[in-house]
């Protein structure tokens, strides 16, 4: 079914009004969710204080099982952050303009999931108060971190990615913040005045803005790919069976995009329902997002099968035994749930009827992310439980402390997101206007002719007409 991504008759003022409306007067459901998130965080803080005072032993970690749910959750959150970059940077560069109404919250998700992920390496450290030792700070004792260690690369990669994606989120919001400034009163007006950096929408400002935005997008894409590759080298650089896998970097990046796209669908449905954004987050855009997710799901499936095949036909007996143990041992139920939810469930996205049905998409996206969480668990835990030395085979499940902290991390993410949607516009106003502007011109034949005439005219080509519309 060919359908419009967005109604091109929508008025500028209506776009502004709808988005600004979403930022004011939280309803009761908002406050309930808000306090649930705070309660979840309180669980995590309590658990962390207990763990900090008592020692890492309260997490049920033990000798073969030195890493556990913390690291799995860390990888999960890092993975979630990738789709924001996919939507805002990659799709920006390839001119897929259907991303415009939904990229802002995806980009926010990137930043917030990175801020969540960043906690986990700290929580899991035995002596977190010495965390800064992994950074190459100037020390009069001449101490440096070990640059060969993937954990040091992690520290660099994640902090770079976090700062770059925050900056990207902010830059992309400047024209919208100016709209907010013009419509706000009181403390909000003061904040937006500072944040919009004196934006008046002049030609020169737009030109500089475009350049900066494109530059940041180009900068962010290799960064996003490298971050998850580096996270994968935490495992791939080791010699452990099941970790020492050459295909891990692309496998991790594919998994990251997969879980991120699934999370975008989840938040898409929630925002659409909650803010009544039906006119912007349309079914047609959902369809496109779902198709994208399906394609990534198939890439992930392929890389998964590659990993199994290369282990099966390889000569590493430890890795092969581990693969068999994963499929038949105590972790088998997780393994098969992961494969079912990650490889079979995405086929629901191939059915148009399901793609157009929001509740189904919501459930499917949650199942996909469940699969991706299990995938991370299956990477971290079984290798440690069943590595080289059979004397040190030991199955251990996380304690309530780990569960509480992981649970609380979702509360923290939710809290950041809830604050974001009320303080910043979660739909990009100026880019939706751009999109509508293009569509209008395409509908109106005369305007289309005029457009192509101006595009072919070298003199006129400089003044990109769409900029004046925003």
């Amino acid at each position: 079914m060919i359908e419009k991504d967005i109604d091109e008759q929508i008025k500028w003022a209506k776009i502004n009004a709808d988005v600004l409306r979403s930022m004011e007067n939280p309803r009761r459901a908002y406050w309930i969710t808000f306090f649930i998130c705070i309660a979840m965080m309180a669980c995590a803080v309590t658990a962390e204080i207990y763990q900090y005072n008592t020692g890492m032993g309260v997490t049920n970690l033990n000798n073969p099982h030195m890493w556990d749910m913390y690291i799995a959750t860390f990888v999960f959150w890092i993975g979630m952050s990738h789709s924001g970059t996919l939507l805002s940077a990659i799709l920006h560069i390839i001119h897929a303009d259907w991303r415009k109404p939904i990229y802002r919250f995806a980009e926010a998700m990137t930043t917030f999931s990175l801020m969540t992920a960043g906690f986990f390496p700290m929580i899991h450290l035995g002596r977190v108060w010495n965390l800064y030792w992994v950074l190459p700070y100037v020390s009069d004792r001449g101490h440096w971190p070990n640059f060969r260690s993937p954990l040091v690369w992690d520290a660099f990669a994640i902090s770079t990615y976090l700062s770059a994606s925050m900056l990207f989120l902010f830059i992309g919001m400047i024209p919208d913040l100016a709209i907010c400034r013009d419509n706000a009163r009181g403390w909000r007006r003061k904040i937006y005045t500072v944040l919009s950096l004196g934006w008046v929408g002049s030609d020169r400002q737009w030109r500089n803005f475009r350049k900066t935005y494109l530059l940041m997008a180009c900068f962010l894409i290799p960064l996003a790919v490298s971050v998850h590759s580096i996270v994968s080298s935490d495992f791939a650089m080791s010699i452990m069976p099941g970790w020492h896998v050459t295909s891990f970097p692309p496998y991790f990046v594919a998994g990251a995009l997969y879980s991120g796209c699934a999370a975008i669908i989840t938040l898409f449905v929630m925002l659409r329902y909650y803010f009544r954004f039906e006119e912007y987050m349309t079914v047609a855009i959902m369809e496109k997002t779902a198709k994208l997710t399906f394609a990534i799901a198939m890439v992930w499936t392929y890389l998964n099968l590659i990993e199994f095949a290369s282990t099966w036909y390889g000569h590493d007996i430890y890795a092969k035994e581990l693969l068999i143990a994963k499929a038949t041992g105590p972790y088998a139920w997780i393994f098969w749930t992961m494969l079912f939810c990650g490889m079979v469930v995405p086929f629901a996205l191939a059915v148009e009827k399901f793609r157009r049905h929001m509740p189904t998409m919501f459930v499917v996206s949650l199942l996909l992310n469940l699969s991706m969480y299990f995938e991370r668990w299956m990477i971290v835990a079984p290798t440690l439980s069943m590595a080289h030395d059979p004397h040190q085979w030991y199955i251990e499940w996380p304690s309530i402390v780990q569960w509480a902290i992981v649970f609380g991390s979702f509360g923290w993410f939710g809290l950041l997101f809830l604050v974001f949607v009320k303080v910043f516009p979660s739909v990009s106003m100026y880019e939706v206007k751009e999109m509508v502007f293009h569509r209008r011109r395409l509908v109106n034949e005369n305007a289309a002719k005029e457009y192509s005439r101006r595009a072919s005219d070298r003199k006129g080509a400089g003044g990109t007409p769409e900029l004046k519309g925003a």
């Binding site: 020692g55 035995g126 954990l151």
Partner: protein, 285 residues
């Protein structure tokens, strides 16, 4: 270092690890453990607890796998014994073999490159050293150890493990570790240090047999032999030579395949410094 130099001497640099890497080794401490002599009495493990201030963690934590034994005696049973009896018990009466497992002081140790703060490194003695004060407890080293021979202080033990007056029996030659720090067998580095200092004072080389590790000292059957692999006259070097086991290779090429010496997981190219000698089984058992 010029490009010319790299191109010409590349093979030499590549071979470096096999000939001891780029370290100027003063000693290369090593062990030879005769499993045929091991009776599984755990005296070595106990001696290690006493010598190295290891915390006694208690039953529950031990069962949880949070024990701190730098030297553990692994028990294995012959498969043939288990299959012949109709109901195979978990711990059969006969057919057990024991394997004292301590840090193998690998010469290309996998734990070393992964530490984010370089808390574990290789000494000119061929030891894999752990700097407790530098450790931040990321536990990556332990994850990358195929032997799982690195032990983490999951709790703080300096108050609970040695109540008064037991703290008086702590060895003053080394520290008591706090929570959040990784630790492991050091080949009794404090004894090595003392012997080297004494030899230096007397202006001589360290003699073979002048000192030994706590486990080797406590072993009633002398199954564990410790010494300097660089000293061709040392007992350990002779044993290695006798068993035709070499350092710096991932596969031993023996003239006589009857020789029992082997190194555990040497095919992972980690180059362990401990040689084990296979147990000789009477075929009737």
């Amino acid at each position: 270092m010029s490009l010319q130099n790299i191109l010409e001497n590349w093979s030499k640099y590549r071979r470096g690890a096999e000939e001891g890497g780029h370290h100027k080794y003063e000693h290369r401490w090593g062990m030879a453990i005769n499993l045929d002599l091991c009776i599984g009495c755990n005296a070595c493990s106990t001696a290690c607890y006493a010598e190295n201030n290891l915390a006694v963690v208690g039953k529950e934590r031990f069962a949880k796998g949070q024990a701190m034994h730098w030297l553990r005696v692994e028990r294995y049973w012959d498969e043939s014994i288990n299959t012949t009896s109709s109901v195979a018990p978990e711990y059969p009466e006969e057919g057990a073999s024991f394997l004292p497992m301590m840090c193998q002081q690998c010469n290309s140790a996998t734990c070393e490159p992964v530490c984010p703060v370089a808390a574990t490194y290789h000494t000119p003695d061929g030891l894999n050293a752990q700097v407790y004060n530098r450790c931040i407890g990321s536990r990556y080293c332990s994850n990358n150890c195929p032997f799982r021979n690195r032990y983490f202080n999951f709790y703080s033990y300096y108050e609970s493990a040695w109540p008064e007056p037991m703290n008086q029996q702590l060895n003053p030659d080394l520290s008591v570790r706090d929570k959040g720090v990784m630790e492991k067998c050091t080949f009794c580095v404090q004894r090595i240090r003392a012997a080297k200092d004494k030899a230096k004072m007397e202006d001589r080389k360290v003699q073979d047999g002048e000192f030994t590790t706590a486990c080797a000292q406590a072993c009633p059957t002398s199954a564990i032999v410790f010494g300097d692999r660089l000293d061709p006259e040392s007992k350990v070097a002779k044993l290695w030579a006798q068993q035709e086991v070499k350092l710096g290779v991932y596969k031993q090429h023996k003239q006589n395949p009857e020789k029992r010496g082997y190194r555990i997981f040497e095919e992972l190219n980690i180059d362990p410094s401990v040689m084990y000698m296979e147990r000789v089984r009477d075929s009737s058992i």
